[in-house]
Symmetry: C2
Subunit: 195 residues, 2 copies
């Protein structure tokens, strides 16, 4: 109840600025993250903003750091997931990406990356982390060489962009497709006679 952003402080905290900024980033793109707009949305003046952040660039940097930490390590460093066998880990990852909305900011970040080198580097790093994570799974499942690479890429790419690309209207079908995907990634063809 007494978390960092529920300090019961008098005014608008640093965290509240960040959260609103992230919201705006997601819904309207990074160019829409304007200090004046944030202030209006938070029902305050801009002056408090400059207490917490040096300037607009400083805010954007914080946004980037926050995303890179929260939206990649949460899955990759998860100790419970780490313990699982490869096939269960694959399923857990699929479920977690969906439930925790780990790709929520991917589109915005990727779009932003086109305009900002620093963001580009951060996004690249995140992609590499995800690719390494899935590659480990497919190694354990017995794949190697190009087959390993292709499966890791296919997995990473699909689960990174599924939500953006396909509207998730039919929840029942999505569940069936997830199971089928799991089977496809593991069994087509079985690792043994795959090579």
């Amino acid at each position: 109840m007494k978390s960092a952003d529920t300090k019961k402080s008098k005014g608008i905290s640093k965290n509240q600025w960040l959260v609103k900024a992230l919201e705006l980033l997601e819904s309207k793109g990074f160019e829409a993250v304007k200090i004046e707009r944030l202030a209006k949305l938070l029902g305050t003046s801009r002056s408090g903003f400059y207490w917490h952040f040096k300037n607009r660039q400083d805010l954007l940097q914080h946004l980037l750091d926050y995303w890179a930490q929260e939206y990649t390590s949460i899955l990759i460093d998860d100790l419970d997931v780490k313990k699982l066998a490869a096939d269960k880990r694959l399923l857990s990852a699929m479920q977690m990406i969906k439930d925790e909305k780990l790709t929520k900011y991917d589109l915005s970040m990727n779009a932003w990356a086109k305009a900002d080198l620093q963001v580009y580097e951060a996004v690249k790093k995140v992609t590499k982390m995800r690719l390494d994570f899935s590659r480990e799974i497919f190694v354990e499942l017995g794949f190697d060489g190009d087959e390993l690479e292709m499966r890791s890429r296919l997995f990473t790419c699909y689960h990174g962009w599924e939500e953006v690309t396909f509207s998730a209207d039919d929840e029942e079908q999505n569940l069936r497709l997830q199971k089928l995907r799991h089977k496809m990634f593991i069994n087509y063809p079985t690792a043994r006679h795959g090579r």
Copy 2:
């Protein structure tokens, strides 16, 4: 030599405004498409802009129309491709997406779609067209039900986002991976005992 945009006109044509705008859209996002900026880049004043377009919204509408037409129908309506058997059509599609850079504006358009309902609808329509295109192929290859749906989605999603997601540094590997992908999509497991 006397194409629409090489009229040898005295000033900046409608097409030149559009092309520059598309460039800026791709490199910096739709919020960066500012009339003033375009004028500066084209080395002219803004006045000509308002000859061709009613306002900024009008320009963006034209951009959207142009993209929806040029970057989807080019593949789907290609008569030479249409004649091919399913497996060859799959390969042709992969090659064409890569060579013609058919996904060049996907990221920008998708990001833009988050802020604009009209763009959202257009993007959705394009995705549907692509999905239908690949679904037809996989039907011909003997798939149906969830397996058909999953393969179409996987194909559409991967080829739509590959370029954004993975930097294409190792061209040799990419070629090998493309061939493997083709094989995977068609043969894992073969259509006959796939169901």
